[in-house]
């Protein structure tokens, strides 16, 4: 790679696939015939694959490739695949290709490498047959895994009944070959594996040997409880040794210790090592190639106030190369890195795009249905089970069918073209393709209709692969009958389909950002830097939110200096309009076209904007526990931080400080973990130790949740003699005013030490409480104004936890910062850029297309009961007064077409277009053509 930000030249070596991507349809006939078996790399080498294969079921492109174990490549023998491929997609003449690309920015998204337990003898991995890693286990559980979803032991192919998970394998250890940091994701993925194991086999006994349980993510605490409450599940807090393997049964014995029973040995059928996350295999190579620096742990070094930025301008990073991250964070750092590329390259936006032009649409609404049926062989996927020619002949006999034929691969470019041509030639006005699931290919086939000048909603897909040939491979005749049934139903529905309009809505190019904390300001700046006006609304008179009270981060960032700089940039930006001390009085509109009224010193302003970002932050719980509010020696960590920074003598000169974790959360009132408090307490403890090394600091905790690289600071604190004592929620510490032996007034803190098994009494000058982070007081109101949901815990609820982590289900409204869930400053910044990235994908377009499949109301039939309104989660239905009384009206822009309202309407007055009763009933009637009851 050479060049600089805005103009890089990257040379890529493209390895030969020996398969032509545009010809291969992924039918996998070649895989069946290939004689070379070798361990399947994607399935952790547990089962066998062939030299020619698709890497995994979701691979993109979903086509085969040939790897170096191929006989032809090694010895010029075989080439069976070439002879069986009906599409002539095999090409052994391919050579490695050097490709040069000219790009303006680079995103490194190389991910991680799982920790390899083979590097350490004590894990016995590779030595004991029934010791597997969590990745092996993940594949074992998967329907596309080595045993098609059956969890089997390597030694005897039997179902393990008693399974142990060992946590922190390769993580949280300062020994050679281990990682000192916490891998962040293992606690929760183990819980997931336990829950899925119980789904597979309700009788399974699962034991998890763990250190702290780090359920710090949104809803993770509940997930942990769900796993813990299952029958036959034990969570045991203990270090373990894998002791021995029974030579006959190959069962594995584990040695562990509990305070009650001391050291014990127990036998398990299978042991799963919850392996941690290592940097990508060739991190150093990557670093050298791209000229970027790495951290001491070997991950990508990033800017603390912009964690997507590497040490080299124009090169960004997303996902776990930044450090151990889970899926939601990987997803929004990807959007965030995208947004940064947008900032860098905004001047070139849209220069390489081309618009597609379709022929004009024929109006066939008055014409008799003329249905064309195309039955796909899908190579042999359908063809070897279903008698395709017979299905084609049958199709021709169905009412309204004008034309039917078979195709080898309907999705192949030539076949799709054939559909378009035949539709024109035969005057078809409805098309049914009998092939696979509409989930993957419906958009493609709709497109072929548009190419033929037919409305795309005149298309229906009969799924005779997933719903037929794949599941009835052994019953060919019956499968053929079923395929015919499915086609008949599809034709019946197609005959009733109607043309629908997708309409383009104009997009107002401005954004509204609600909340002027770090999240809101960062997001606003990133949007404005890409040329869009931003209206930034803050309820307080000052910007900065909770960060105004934070002085440093655990990593040592000067938060106040950073904040001042951020605020200055916001105020100076010509495209950002700030409204401080403001309240939102009204919010209306929909994606691309919102209208929000804001009251501020400037009076009431009506703002028109295309996108909305909710970044209203959080509040800090004011504890009533442990004498807080009664005794001024009891403070929250935030108050403690303020007093440390002010140099308050009572604090920095104290002889003893006790910190109590989990105050106001992880309880019945707030059943979540506030995520940041453990690191927060460590930060203050280290700060105090720095100022006053002699100070006695004791942290009373439930689980220390210093995930990721914060683990290093936890260890540092322990090394500096900060004492950590665990307490149980049913045996909380007690705080009472009292006197020390010397007669000094102190706070007497009592707690149970579970390791030593005795009661402790500590004299403290100050007690600092890790108070919960709670939803902002204004959340409820903001939620109602913008009609966006809150989760059970009162934080804003994103559209999809993993796939759409910074969006609401309602289009055009986005989310970032602690309004989503408590998080650290660097995490907030990541998410803010992520939201900006999503906002830009909307605002960079002039129009948005709304689906044609939305609900409509037959006003005559509607009697205004409102059942549909309460069923609609998207606020798409409203009452409307008419001369005929109260009726409902659907806003097609907000309607998501989920059809919930249809089922609720007593008089069937509301119907979902493209899924009307008429269409669906026609389909059901066709399923049972000979029957008639009632």
């Amino acid at each position: 790679m050479e060049g600089e930000a805005g103009d890089f030249i990257v040379s890529l070596l493209r390895k030969p696939r020996y398969v032509l991507e545009d010809k291969c349809t992924g039918c996998t006939t070649c895989v069946e015939y290939c004689p070379v078996k070798y361990p399947d790399q994607f399935n952790q080498a547990i089962s066998q694959n062939k030299a020619i294969h698709i890497y995994f079921h979701q691979a993109i492109p979903l086509v085969t490739y040939i790897d170096e174990t191929c006989l032809y490549l090694k010895e010029k023998k075989c080439n069976i695949c070439e002879t069986v491929c009906k599409n002539k997609a095999i090409d052994f003449t391919q050579k490695a290709e050097r490709v040069q690309v000219n790009v303006g920015a680079i995103i490194l998204a190389s991910g991680i490498e799982p920790f390899d337990p083979k590097t350490r003898d004590e894990y016995r991995y590779g030595k004991f047959a029934n010791v597997v890693t969590s990745i092996d286990y993940e594949r074992l559980m998967c329907a596309t895994g080595p045993y098609e979803g059956e969890i089997l032991r390597a030694s005897d192919r039997k179902h393990p009944h008693k399974i142990a998970w060992l946590q922190c394998v390769g993580s949280r250890e300062v020994i050679p070959g281990g990682n000192s940091y916490c891998s962040s994701v293992c606690c929760t993925y183990t819980q997931k594996q336990v829950i899925l194991t119980k789904d597979h086999n309700p009788e399974a006994e699962c034991t998890i040997f763990h250190n702290d349980i780090r359920s710090y993510g949104k809803d993770f605490e509940r997930f942990y409880q769900r796993a813990e409450r299952l029958a036959g599940i034990r969570f045991i807090r203990s270090y373990v040794t894998i002791a021995k393997e029974d030579p006959k049964t190959k069962n594995v014995t584990i040695r562990y210790a509990t305070p009650a029973d001391g050291v014990k040995e127990e036998e398990f059928d299978m042991v799963v090592l919850s392996v941690g996350l290592n940097p990508p295999a060739d991190a150093k190579g990557l670093g050298n190639k791209f000229g970027i620096e790495l951290t001491s742990h070997g991950f990508c070094k990033t800017n603390p106030v912009n964690p997507m930025e590497t040490t080299r301008p124009g090169i960004f990073v997303s996902g776990a190369f930044q450090g151990p991250t889970d899926i939601p964070e990987s997803v929004y750092t990807a959007s965030g890195a995208g947004s940064q590329c947008g900032q860098l390259l905004d001047y070139r936006r849209g220069k390489l795009t081309q618009e597609r032009i379709y022929p004009p649409e024929r109006d066939v609404s008055q014409a008799e249905p003329r249905v064309g049926v195309f039955v796909c062989h899908c190579g042999t996927n359908i063809g070897r089970v279903v008698n395709v020619p017979s299905a084609v002949e049958y199709s021709k006999s169905l009412p309204n069918v004008i034309y039917a034929q078979e195709q080898l691969f309907s999705c192949a470019a030539n076949c799709a073209k054939e559909i378009t041509d035949l539709a024109k030639e035969k005057g078809l006005n409805r098309v049914v393709v009998a092939a696979c699931s509409p989930r993957t290919l419906e958009p493609l086939f709709r497109d072929t209709l548009r190419e033929a000048g037919i409305n795309q909603y005149y298309y229906d897909m009969a799924n005779i692969r997933e719903h037929c040939s794949w599941v009835h491979a052994k019953e060919k005749e019956l499968a053929t009958e079923k395929a015919k049934d499915i086609i008949r139903m599809s034709v019946a529905r197609a005959s009733h389909l109607e043309a629908l309009e997708e309409f383009d809505l104009p997009v107002n190019k401005a954004a509204l950002v609600v909340g002027g904390g770090i999240a809101g300001m960062t997001c606003a700046l990133s949007i404005a830097n890409q040329g869009h006006e931003v209206y930034l609304v803050e309820k307080d008179s000052d910007f900065g939110g909770t960060a105004r009270r934070i002085h440093t981060t655990l990593e040592g960032l000067d938060v106040q200096a950073y904040l001042r700089d951020l605020i200055r940039k916001v105020y100076q930006h010509r495209l950002i309009h700030v409204y401080a001390g403001a309240t939102i009085t009204e919010a209306t509109g929909y994606v691309g076209n919102f209208v929000t009224k804001v009251r501020s010193e400037r009076g009431v302003t009506e703002i028109k904007h295309g996108a909305t970002v909710i970044a209203v932050g959080t509040d800090v719980y004011q504890p009533t526990e442990y004498l807080h509010g009664e005794d001024d020696r009891v403070v929250t960590q935030l108050e403690l931080e303020e007093r440390i920074s002010q140099g308050d003598e009572k604090v920095v000169d104290a002889t003893s400080i006790v910190m109590i974790q989990c105050v106001g959360c992880r309880n019945e009132d707030r059943n979540y973990c506030s995520r940041i408090c453990c690191s927060e307490s460590i930060k203050n403890a280290l700060k105090l130790k720095e100022k006053n090394p002699k100070m006695d600091i004791c942290v009373l905790f439930r689980d220390m949740r210093t995930y990721g690289f914060s683990e290093d600071y936890y260890r540092q604190a322990a090394d500096k003699d900060v004492r950590f004592i665990r307490y149980e929620p049913q045996d909380k510490p007690q705080v009472e005013p009292g006197e020390s032996e010397e007669g000094k007034p102190v706070l007497k803190v009592t707690a149970t030490d579970y390791i030593l098994g005795n009661k402790l009494e500590i004299d403290a000058d100050i007690v600092a409480l890790a108070a919960a982070v709670i939803p902002s007081a204004g959340s409820q109101q903001v939620s109602q104004l913008f009609k966006v949901p809150l989760s059970g815990d009162g934080f804003f609820q994103e559209a999809h936890v993993k796939l759409r982590p910074v969006e609401f289900a309602a289009d055009g409204i986005y989310l970032c910062g602690t309004a989503h869930y408590p998080k650290h400053i660097s995490e907030t910044i990541r998410q803010a850029y992520g939201a900006a990235g999503r906002v830009l994908t909307l605002l960079s377009h002039d129009t948005v297309t709304a689906s044609g499949s939305v609900c409509r109301v037959n006003e005559k039939k509607c009697f205004g009961c409102g059942a549909c309104i309460s069923a609609c989660t998207y606020g798409a239905i409203e009452f409307r007064e008419t001369p005929q009384g109260r009726k409902v009206v659907v806003n097609p822009v907000l309607c998501k077409g989920d059809g919930l309202c249809n089922a609720k309407c007593p008089t069937l007055a509301i119907q979902l277009k493209h899924f009307t009763d008429e269409e669906i009933v026609a389909q059901i009637d066709a399923a049972f053509p000979d029957e008639k009851v009632g």
Binding site: C142, A143, G149, L196, D199, V471, P789, Q797, A799, H800, A809, K860, K861, C862, F863, C865, A867, S870, A871, T873, Q884, G885, K896, D898, L900, A903, K904, C905, P906, T907, A909, F928, E931, V933, G934
Partner: protein, 220 residues
């Protein structure tokens, strides 16, 4: 069709914010009670929630359900109901669907946390009572002023009306939505409800003309 299976994602695992599987569950629970009420075996209708990763479970459930329905025999026949009788019972229920949905609107939108609560959502007694006490709407001929309002507003055109003719609700068409009672001017109060008893037969067509006293007075 002798059995219906309704499948969906596990409760609380909705990928969106809709959680429509709760609504499906409630509808199924109500339908089962209605089936029971008209003498059909409720086991012919089954709802089960599973994730897309549970192919084996799905196959097991489908096989089990298929066998179950086969064992029950054809709809009606298995229960020993004469086909003609079954048709008329089903038609009657179908006619009442709008009313059933309207009255149970709130319950149909509830969110049941655990399977133990399923039985209690709609009880047999409740459904039997519900059908005993079905409300019919009836226009009292003596009070009707033939103002046409109710007829115009009726969403299903179930009111036979004409100027100066007493309006009559066609009970076969009526969906019991209650619009007529709501819109009938209070000073007339001509629409009433009748619960659990047959509606009086309508006036013969030639006897529906209203003779307006006020006009007579003016004329004389």
């Amino acid at each position: 069709m002798d059995g219906v299976f309704v499948g969906g994602c596990r409760l609380n695992e909705c990928n969106y914010i809709t959680h429509g599987n709760y609504d499906a569950l409630n509808t199924v629970l109500l339908c089962k009670r209605i089936m029971e009420h008209i003498g059909l075996t409720p086991e012919r209708l089954k709802v089960q929630f599973m994730s897309s990763a549970e192919g084996i479970l799905f196959a097991d459930v489908m096989n089990e359900f298929g066998n179950k329905v086969k064992g029950l025999g054809p709809l009606g026949k298995g229960e020993g109901i004469d086909p003609g009788e079954l048709r008329s019972r089903l038609a009657e229920i179908r006619r009442l669907v709008p009313y059933i949905k309207r009255v149970n609107q709130e319950k149909l939108a509830s969110r049941l946390g655990n399977p133990e609560a399923y039985d209690g959502l709609f009880t047999k007694d409740e459904i039997d009572r519900f059908f005993r006490e079905v409300i019919s709407y009836y226009i009292v001929p003596e009070k009707c002023q033939a103002c046409l309002i109710c007829a115009r507003r009726c969403p299903v055109d179930a009111i036979i009306s004409a100027k100066s003719m007493v309006h009559v609700i066609e009970q076969e068409k009526c969906t019991r939505c209650g619009t007529c009672i709501e819109v009938c001017p209070a000073r007339f109060g001509a629409v009433t409800t009748i619960s659990g008893a047959p509606v009086p037969p309508p006036l013969a067509e030639d006897k529906r003309t209203i003779v307006r006293k006020s006009k007579e007075n003016v004329a004389s």
